[in-house]
Each structure stands twice: as C-alpha cells, then as structure tokens.
C-alpha cells in the first residue's frame, strides 16, 4: 500500500443541489475506486464555489483571500489531483469558475493531474470542454487527462447516450486520472517561504545576486 493521496474537487454549480455537484461526486467516487484498485488510498475534499463566491470577488478587489477561501485554495493547490466541474454558460466555463481560477497563483497548478467535467442543458455544448476549458488548463501547465466528462440534462435520465453512457465516460476519465496519480510521487508541499525553494537550490542570497550583480 503506498502513501495516501488527496483529491480536491471544485464544483462551480449555482443551485443546490446542482447537476454539476452530482457529476463532481460521481467523478470523485470513481477516481477513489480506481485508485483503490491500484492500491492507493485517497481522500477527497470537495468544494462548491458558491460557498466562497463573495470571497472570490473580494479577493479580486482587495488582492487577498479571506480565511475560508485561502484555506480552500491551499487544499486545492496542494492536492495530488484535481477534479473541476463547471456548468457551461454562454458557450464556456461559468464566470464564477473563471474568477476562481483567476485568483489562483498562475504557477500553482503546474504539472497537476486534472480531470475536467462540465454540465449543460443539452449535448450541443459538449465541445466546450475541449475548446474552452482545456486551453485554460493548458495555459496553467496543468496535466489534464485526455478524457473530459460532459453531462447534459438528458444524461441523468433515459435520453442520454446509450452507447457511451455517462457511467462509461465517468469510468474512463476517472481511470485516466487514477493512472496519472499512480504514476507520480505523492505531492510535496512547495512552501514558497522555504529558502530552498525561492533560492532555487542555493543556500544564500549570493545565489540570486550572482545572476544579477556584476562585481
């Protein structure tokens, strides 16, 4: 049994309960199952952006995260893997979802295994994962798994895809994320206040000075 891992889940649904949260829960349960099959114990921290929506706006206005949002951000960026699920509004991720991404440090998701999920009223929005959400995580240099899981309203009833069912798609995406986690060492916190990190391996300020000052 290898070291326990942590999966963070961010759901940007607006209503309670939301189909976005439902998809997020299905994805995280499947990921935990697939990790377990690989001999890896994982815990899950699930966050709904609705709970910190005011904090996100305040963060944009004041430049700092309130206590609840800060704690959430720390949990997300230090997780071994991230599952994000947003509703598709006006052909793209929701504004609240993007606002949350915007208050993260742009380097905080580098190399992070990410599984993208999205929900909408009809399957006609399904490509939004690939033309809108995936490029966002490419910019952040996250390691997004190739399968994105889209759920239209019909997927929750009998009108969904009967060949590649929602359940099948969830399994596929979850297995890919579990593989990505299994390939990696457990996430180590990269404390920005640790001199070993900000001095880039040097032990003294001379190391920074050396590159810039020309005595």
């Amino acid at each position: 049994m290898s070291a326990a891992r942590r999966v963070a889940v961010v759901a940007a649904g607006l209503s309670t309960p939301s189909s976005t949260r439902m998809l997020a829960d299905r994805l995280s349960a499947a990921v935990v199952k697939h990790l377990d099959e690989r001999g890896i114990t994982a815990s899950v921290d699930t966050f709904e952006l609705r709970d910190v929506a005011h904090d996100i706006t305040n963060n944009m206005l004041t430049g700092f995260a309130g206590a609840e949002l800060e704690s959430m951000i720390n949990t997300v960026v230090s997780a071994d893997a991230l599952i994000v699920v947003t509703p598709i509004f006006s052909t793209s991720y929701s504004g609240m979802f993007k606002s949350f991404i915007d208050v993260l440090d742009k380097d905080s998701l580098i190399g992070k295994p990410v599984l993208i999920g999205a929900t909408a009223g009809t399957p006609r929005h399904s490509l939004a994962i690939d033309y809108a959400i995936r490029p966002l995580f490419a910019y952040l240099h996250a390691d997004t798994v190739s399968t994105g899981v889209f759920a239209a309203s019909d997927d929750w009833g009998s009108g969904g895809d009967q060949v590649a069912t929602l359940g099948d798609r969830i399994e596929k995406g979850a297995a890919e994320l579990a593989d990505a986690v299994a390939r990696r060492d457990p996430a180590t916190s990269s404390d920005p206040f640790d001199p070993a990190n900000y001095l880039h391996g040097g032990s003294s300020f001379d190391h920074l000075l050396g590159g810039f000052a020309g005595d």
Binding site: G63, F64, F193, S204, F205, A213
Partner: protein, 407 residues
C-alpha cells in the same frame, strides 16, 4: 552628528500614499495644490503631536501626486526639528540606483541625518514601461539595483557592470553619505520571500505594510526575515529590525468612528466596494473605533511579529478632509502613541535593538572615534586613474564604513 537621539526604542509615525481622492461625503476632490499643501501640514503636525516619522510613497500617475519624494521630504525636514523623513516606498525597480544614491545622500545632509528610506517594487504595472523596464523583471531589478545602491553608498569609487543599467567605471556618487554612514534602508514587501531574504542578507530593516492582508501573511514573511537575519550572522532573530504599517480611524465613541469612517471605507480606492468594513477590520489591522481599541489592537502586534522598531499609520487617504486627518493625528499622538510606547516597552528584552537613527548608525560605525568627513581633491576629470578623489581623514581601524577612501 547634529541631531539628538530622542526617539528611543520604538518610532511611531505616519505613512501617506499621496492619493487625491474625492471626499465621498461632499463630492469634493481637492486640487493637486491643496492636497500637496495638506500633506505638508500633516507632516508638520506629526512632529507637533510627538510622532517620530513621516513617510511618503512614490507614484507616477494620477490620482497621486508624490512623484518626487526627496523634494517633498527636504521641505518637511526644513520645517521640522526632530521628525525622521522617509519613504513608503521608493521604487528600486524603475529608479536609477545612482539617482537614488545621490538624492538620499543629499536628503541625509540637508535634514541633518533625519532621513531614511524604504525600498519597494511598486504596484502600478505601467510604471515599468514608462521608465523603460519590464515588469516581469521586477525582482531581478530590485536585486541588482539594490546591490549597486548599496555599493555606491559604501565605496568612493565604483566600477560596476550589471544587466539593467549602463556600466560605471570609476564612478563616485556625491555627496558621500552624511558622516560616511548610509541612510538606513527598509525593504518593504507584502508577499515576496526573496525581499525578506534580501533585507536579512544585508542586515537592513524589513517593513511589512500590514494593511492590505491578514496578519498571517506578514507573520510568515517577518518570521522568515528574522530567521535569515540570524542565518547571515547579524545576530539572534529578535535583533532584526522590523517595521509595520497600520491603519486606524478613531473617535471617542467607537460607534461615531464607525459611522463617520464608513463612507470613506466603502468608497476607498483600495478596498472599496469589496468586503464590508466589519469583515475587513476583522481580517486586517484596520481598526475603526475608540482610541482604546486602537491601543489594544496595536499593543498586540508584538505578540504576532515580535518586538519591533517602527510603527507607521496610514491616516490621510480615501478623501478624508484635512481637518479630520489632523484630528486623527491629535488622537494618535495625544492618546494612543504615549500608551503604546509604554505598553511596548514592557518586558522588551534588552537584546532588542532600538529603532534605527543616524546617531545610532554613526555610533555603531565609529564608536567614539573620529567620524569621516571627506573633502574632495581638485577636480581632475576622472576617477579611473590615480587614487581617491578625496583628501581623506584617516579611517579608524576596524571601521565598517569609509574603507573605499583608504585603498
């Protein structure tokens, strides 16, 4: 050494952003002329009520006016007797370090040693391109520029080549710092560990503005600075030199303070239309209430950050009218600071250094020995050939400063 050390363990004072903001309660925006005169009045009043420091920011765009801090500070120094004039901050990224060395050495001389400065990177993106710099190089600029500034104040003849500035051969920054002792430098940062590291490396002060963010952010930076101060051999962590910002609005009855300040808070350029004043006062050191509440809050700062040397308050922002600001300074100087001085002196370990002053730095450099007073030789047009450009007084043995003239 013309000044007397009247400041002691802790220095208290004001720092001003120099914003020219509409008063939301009257709709009146002061003219630049009015606001500049108001700031001069505020600075002089700081000394009148017994405060020790007045610091001003540097900005290069409206609605701010303080583009040339040393000009302003020289005037204030001339109009005061004891007040230390400083900056919050001087832009180490976009200013030429040679000009900073010259400007602040002159300010040191004309103020009789009552000048120091705080370096920062600035928070206005376009300032970088306006001054021919790239904001993505902000940190490397801060590191290289300060390395040069540090040298210019300590070596009479500087040969230097870096990445960002034209090289110098045989350059002498004039005048030499007052009494051969560079102005005390604070490094200000709100989030950057490299700047805490820089302050620790040089044995300089570290200032946390402490007004925008929750205390935990600044705690981590200051703790890091203190640890690294010890790492570089300057002494135990508690001997590091720490300054903090703060923010308060006071009336005798706390509800009056809350009612009066709320429209200014709600419309403030920095945090207006964001979190409620109640949330913001909980999350940050902004205290709106009675003088006693401010005393209690700020007497607790050393529990968060350790015993420290300088406490500056932001009092004149967000369109508060001059009359109100002067009343606030009266309360601060009359009721709050005298109590804080006593409170913060209690159980203060003897190992914690006093706040930095020119007299203290001179003493540290020379002991009771002769103080360097360089006199230039007749101009020979270059510094590259020959010896020192100065007819030097002999450098005392073991002196930390003035060695450049002896080589």
């Amino acid at each position: 050494m013309s000044e007397t050390d009247a400041t002691g363990q802790m220095q208290f004072g004001l720092f001003s952003v120099s914003d020219i903001t509409q008063d939301p309660t009257t709709g009146v925006t002061p003219s630049e002329a009015e606001r500049i005169q108001a700031t001069l009045t505020i600075a002089k009043h700081a000394e009148e009520v017994g405060l020790d420091v007045f610091a001003i920011g540097e900005h290069h765009n409206p609605p701010f006016w303080s583009s040339s801090p040393t000009t302003t500070l020289a005037y204030i120094a001339a109009q005061t007797e004891r007040l230390i004039v400083s900056t919050a901050t001087t832009l180490i990224t976009t200013n030429d370090p040679v000009k900073i060395a010259e400007d602040f050495a002159v300010l040191q001389h004309v103020s009789g040693g009552r000048a120091d400065l705080m370096l920062g990177r600035g928070n206005t993106g376009p300032v970088y391109p306006w001054f021919g710099k790239d904001i993505r190089q902000g940190l490397p600029l801060a590191i290289e520029n300060y390395a040069l500034l540090h040298k210019l104040w300590r070596e009479d003849i500087v040969d230097w080549e870096g990445k960002f500035r034209t090289p110098l051969q045989g350059f002498t920054s004039t005048p030499r710092p007052l009494d051969g002792v560079p102005p005390f430098v604070w490094h200000g940062s709100i989030r950057t560990p490299e700047i805490a590291e820089q302050a620790a490396y040089y044995g300089d002060g570290f200032f946390a503005n402490n007004i925008f963010w929750p205390a935990e952010h600044y705690q981590r930076l200051i703790e890091l600075y203190r640890q690294r101060w010890a790492h570089y051999g300057h002494g135990d962590p508690e001997t590091a030199i720490v300054g903090l910002g703060g923010q308060a609005f006071m009336r005798k009855n706390s509800q009056d303070a809350i009612n009066e300040f709320r429209p200014y808070f709600d419309n403030a350029p920095v945090y207006g239309h964001g979190p409620s004043m109640e949330d913001f006062t909980k999350m940050t050191p902004l205290t709106v209430g009675s003088p006693q509440q401010v005393i209690d809050r700020y007497a607790g700062m050393r529990d968060l950050f350790g015993d420290y040397q300088r406490q500056l308050f932001l009092m004149d922002h967000s369109g508060l009218p001059l009359k109100t600001v002067l009343e606030q300074i009266d309360i601060l100087g009359g009721e709050v600071v005298p109590v804080l001085r006593k409170e913060l002196a209690k159980n203060r370990p003897a190992t914690v250094p006093d706040a930095p002053t020119h007299a203290g730095l001179v003493k540290a450099a020379y002991g009771d020995g002769p103080v360097r007073q360089p006199r230039p030789n007749a101009n020979r047009g270059d510094n590259v050939t020959g010896g020192s450009p100065y007819q030097d007084t002999p450098t005392p043995q073991g002196a930390a400063f003035g060695l450049g003239g002896a080589r």
